[in-house]
Subunit: 166 residues, 2 copies
DNA sequence: CTTGGAATGTCAACAAGGCTGACGTAAAAT
DNA sequence: ATTTTACGTCAGCCTTGTTGACATTCCAAG
């Protein structure tokens, strides 16, 4: 903390080096961010891809494969490989759409919800600890910067998820 | 230097859902964070692994292979595959250590520095834009939360890099 | 009713970049 | 003199991304 700290007055006079520190902070923090779920997942032959799928299905129950594709930003082949294993292992189930029968609406099973809970408990614990250590103002700033860092399209989805599920 | 806040920390009353939003913010923001360098890298048959190596060699010129291994958290086989292509393409050079001749000290060549510049310019532009949009206090909070989110070991390395580039 | 296109599944092949294991070599440390 | 350290390398495996091609089902428009 020995820097010429940019007080609230000194409007964004940031050296390349200060910005670089932000970049490295993102790098190291993201590792921490994924570390706990990764440990759980690796004991059951799953990876981050499964985690992401489970997370967003939990977040928006009944979402379609197409929606999930858009949110995750991967190809359908890639997603399908993941979903298949989740179906086979009975963590996720797909229901044919009532209105449009081509669509598959995705839901977590009880078993799927258990995994989701385990994963997000672990991740939330770290988040909470970080929030607690940093304090409320820091949390606000954290979220603000992250939002500003997203691609507009992602931000739209992020904000969309905030209110309306599916 | 963010002491005065700590009193209100008991008021850090955050629902699981609020914390989840932080989690999703990390996910989407990280995508934005890597998007610009990724676009540059893919035009030249490189990936994020190359980016990371180039970044940290630039950050700590003369660092050894072992150091890099510790920072990046990968196996030497994995790192070696990356380094080999960087040597072959003349972006990085290795000098045998003077004191300890077993060690290889890594340096960017002029060509390597050019790539590093291109990559970090792109990444910094987004960071700066986010910082500008969010404001100075937010930036402070952003960094504080990220630091708190790191594994202790990573935090040590992050803080270590902050002062002494070796 | 037929047909075009959308939503989905699936097969095959490939690449990047992780991993482990095993082995080699030079140099430092004991 | 021996062991340990730092590094390189070969070989093989896994996950998760990619493209391309093709089948199915079904909505919607002509």
């Amino acid at each position: 903390m020995a820097e010429p700290i940019t007080q609230s007055e000194n409007l964004l006079f940031l050296t390349d080096d200060q910005v670089r520190k932000g970049i490295e902070a993102m790098f190291f923090a993201y590792r921490g961010f994924t570390a706990d779920p990764d440990r759980i997942l690796e004991t059951m032959d799953y990876g981050r891809a499964h985690h992401r799928a489970v997370h967003f299905i939990h977040r928006s129950p009944g979402t379609t494969v197409g929606n999930l594709l858009a949110i995750l930003g991967v190809t359908k082949q890639s997603l399908n490989r993941i979903l298949r294993t989740l179906f086979e292992d009975g963590l996720v189930e797909a229901r044919v759409g009532k209105k449009d029968k081509r669509e598959r609406h995705l839901y977590l099973t009880e078993k799927g919800r258990e995994l989701e809970r385990a994963l997000s408990d672990a991740q939330r614990a770290r988040m909470r600890a970080a929030y607690r250590a940093a304090g409320p103002q820091a949390v606000q700033g954290f979220r603000t910067v992250l939002e500003a860092m997203m691609d507009p399209e992602m931000r739209r989805q992020y904000l969309g998820l905030k209110e309306a599920g599916a």
